[in-house]
Structures are given as structure tokens and as C-alpha cells.
């Protein structure tokens, strides 16, 4: 076979490069968003309505899927923690309630699963910690949880859209889609996400899940606080808010009459790592 001469080589190389560059442009023009992985993309791909039976068409046609009319709804859910009202007993009750409702196991060591937990001021607010500051605030243990950011970095990086932002602002996990890549854990600046390094069922006392109405997780998925979407759907407030005795407020950030907005009007509040621009929606009333 004859070798390719310089002129032909340059011609083919140029043509290939032109096609290669044009390909992405053509894709973007003809099928906008199709090439993006997590951001944008085709919305509503999951809208798989209950299918017709191929063998018995028309027989007992599939029904409709509708929201629960009793569901608590909001434009933008948010939370405020009143640090003046928290006692050691309240903090313990809140953490216990969350862990029980959501079958969060207690795993010894650094592989523990955390939905809501206690931490020090420096760890919760590294940007606000001063060398000399109010001792009372500094020594207070803070309860931290997923901030359900307006601009959630975890959602941007998820390659499977397993984590996503609902219309009401809740950053939700779809456990069925999580592949355990842990990009979201690297992206979250608050450490709000935990990975299941082992089967969590092994870590329940007597091998029994505390709550039979809520699923556990499986080995290899990431989990976090969901603002109790399953309770909101039934018309109930999140479990932590319910047992907090008024120390935790939950409401619609878009409604100026909601308990959270009312508290924020009169009290000085801080948010975690505000400067990162993720716009957390969990406020701490000092």
C-alpha cells in the first residue's frame, strides 16, 4: 500500500478536525442540552406514567398519580434553629427522633451516617470564629444538617441526577439512582452527606430497623437529611421540628408570615459558610 503524502495527510487531518468541532456545535443546535450530563438536560425524563398492559390493552386501564391533598406545600422550605432555646436534652431528643424515623444506624468510627448532629462553633462556622468572642456562643454545641441550598453544589456534580432540587427547594435524594460515586460528598461544603461503606442493617441493635414504615439504605449509596419529605407529604412537620419544643422553626421562606420569616425579622441570624454562595436555607438565631 502506498503511504499518504504530506498534502493528503494535512487535508484529511483538517477535515476531521472541522467535523469534530462542528459535531458538538451541531448537537447543541439540533438537540440542545442533550450532551450535558447533570446540569440542564432533558427535564421530565422520569415521567414514566403507568404503562398499558401489552397483553391486555384497555383492560383495567392504569390509574392516575396525584399528590396527597393533605400535603404541606411551600414555595421555598426553610428552617431556623433558635440557639437560645436549645438545651442538651432538646438536642439529644432531636437527633434521636431523626435517627429513629429514618432508620439511621449508629456505626462506630469514622464511617458513621449523619443526618443531623452536634458540632462545635468553629466547625459549623469556620468563617465566623474569632480569636476572642462571646464565650456563650462559642461554647454552644450547634446542631447541623443539610442546608438545602438554593444553589446546591451536590446537585451540579451528580452524574446520574440521583440528587436533585425539588420545586419547593428541598434537595432530595433518589436512592434508586445513586451509584455511590461520592462526587456530591466532595462537592458539599458542609459535610452533610454520608456514604454507606457497609450494609447499614448490620448496625441496628438486634438487627431490627427501628421504623418499619421507612426504608433503610443499602451498601454503596449516599444519604442525607431530606427535610422529612415523607412527613410533609402526610401533612406533618419534620420529625426534628416536632420534638424540638419550639427551638426549631420550619416554614415557607417565600411567605413573610411564616414562623421562620417572622423570627428572622427580629433576631440576628447566621448561616453556615455564607461566602461560598450556596445560599443555605437553614438559619441559626443567635
Amino acid at each position: 500500500m502506498m503511504g499518504v503524502n504530506r498534502r493528503d495527510f494535512l487535508r484529511i487531518a483538517g477535515l476531521t478536525a472541522a467535523i469534530g468541532m462542528g459535531g458538538k456545535t451541531a448537537f447543541d443546535l439540533l438537540w440542545p442540552g442533550q450532551l450535558d450530563a447533570a446540569e440542564g438536560g432533558v427535564e421530565g425524563w422520569w415521567k414514566s406514567k403507568t404503562p398499558e398492559n401489552p397483553l391486555f390493552p384497555g383492560d383495567m386501564a392504569p390509574g392516575n398519580e396525584v399528590p396527597n391533598p393533605a400535603e404541606l406545600t411551600a414555595k421555598r422550605w426553610g428552617m431556623a434553629l433558635d440557639m437560645r432555646k436549645f438545651t442538651a436534652a432538646t438536642r439529644a431528643a432531636v437527633v434521636k427522633a431523626c435517627n429513629q424515623v429514618h432508620n439511621v444506624p449508629a456505626i462506630p468510627g469514622n464511617q458513621n451516617i449523619k443526618w443531623i448532629w452536634e458540632t462545635s462553633f468553629e466547625h459549623a462556622f469556620p468563617d465566623l470564629a474569632q480569636e476572642y468572642m462571646d464565650n456563650e456562643v462559642h461554647d454552644l454545641p450547634f446542631l447541623v444538617l443539610c442546608n438545602h441550598c438554593d444553589n446546591p453544589p451536590c446537585v451540579r456534580v451528580c452524574p446520574t441526577k440521583a440528587t436533585f432540587r425539588r420545586a419547593d427547594g428541598i434537595v432530595m435524594m433518589d436512592m434508586h439512582r445513586c451509584i455511590g460515586c461520592r462526587f456530591c460528598m466532595a462537592a458539599c461544603p458542609f459535610g452533610s452527606r454520608s456514604f454507606n461503606f457497609a450494609d447499614p442493617r448490620k448496625f441496628f441493635p438486634d438487627g431490627k430497623e427501628p421504623n418499619p414504615t421507612y426504608p433503610t439504605r443499602t451498601k454503596g449509596v449516599v444519604e442525607k437529611c431530606t427535610f422529612c419529605t415523607e412527613r410533609l407529604a402526610k401533612g406533618e412537620l419534620p420529625a426534628c421540628v416536632e420534638v424540638s419544643g419550639g427551638a426549631m422553626l420550619f416554614g415557607d421562606m417565600a411567605d413573610s408570615g411564616s414562623p421562620v420569616r417572622q423570627a428572622l425579622r427580629t433576631r440576628y441570624a447566621i448561616r453556615r459558610k455564607n461566602e461560598l454562595g450556596t445560599a443555605p436555607q437553614v438559619y441559626y438565631l443567635i
Partner: protein, 125 residues
């Protein structure tokens, strides 16, 4: 080529071993699985035929609808309303996973991973 008889013998042995499951069972596919249906309920969310062939797609649609769109209620074609939840609704009637789900799944050799996360009701023994 003097190996012809050896090759043919080899092929016959291979065929005999390969088809062993078929002629050993003499075309009998084994006992058909017996599914225990709930005694106090007559009607599922769809007809028996529909559920038999399409329950996996129905459940797959349910899980997306619940998690992604927040739809929690299923209005069946007869107007009855159901909570779309495997753990809290399906298993309320089909209380025994071993005598219902596992019967066909084991027979067909499929192992859906529902129960890695969802909690099955306690099995009565």
C-alpha cells in the same frame, strides 16, 4: 483424517451433557409456583392480568412519581385511592413476601433488589 469417530463421539458426549436438563426433566418445567393471595381483599390496584405481567413497570413508575414529582396517591381506574408505597401499601395486603413475591421470583430466577432497602413485613412461620 482418522480422527472422525473420535470427533463425532466427542460431539455426541457434549450434546448429551448440554441437553441433560431438558431430557432429564422430560419436558416437565417443575412445579408451578403457588402464590398466596390475600384472603380479605378481592381487588388489587389493577386487574390480576395487568399486575401479573406489568407490576414491575407499575412499581418503577410509582417510585419515580413519588420521589421525583411528589405524587403519593394512586387513583386506580375504579376510582379507589392508594398510597403509592411498596413497603406501606403493597405489603399491607401481601403480608408475606416469601409466599407472594419470592414464589415467582425464585421460580424465574430473578432477584429484584427492592428488599435491600425496603423493609419487608415480618414473616410468619
Amino acid at each position: 483424517m482418522n480422527d472422525k469417530p473420535v470427533i463425532i463421539f466427542g460431539i455426541l458426549v457434549f450434546l448429551a451433557i448440554f441437553t441433560f436438563p431438558f431430557w432429564h426433566a422430560k419436558g416437565n418445567a417443575g412445579p408451578v409456583p403457588e402464590v398466596q393471595l390475600p384472603k380479605d381483599q378481592k381487588q388489587c390496584v389493577a386487574s390480576k392480568e395487568y399486575m401479573r405481567t406489568t407490576h414491575m413497570q407499575l412499581l418503577d413508575g410509582w417510585r419515580d412519581s413519588v420521589v421525583r414529582e411528589g405524587n403519593r396517591i394512586y387513583v386506580a381506574s375504579d376510582g379507589k385511592r392508594y398510597n403509592m408505597s411498596l413497603q406501606n401499601e403493597c405489603m399491607k395486603c401481601h403480608t408475606d413476601k416469601a409466599k407472594f413475591c419470592d414464589q415467582c421470583h425464585n421460580y424465574l430466577g430473578v432477584s429484584p433488589y427492592c428488599w435491600d432497602c425496603h423493609v419487608a413485613p415480618k414473616e410468619s412461620k
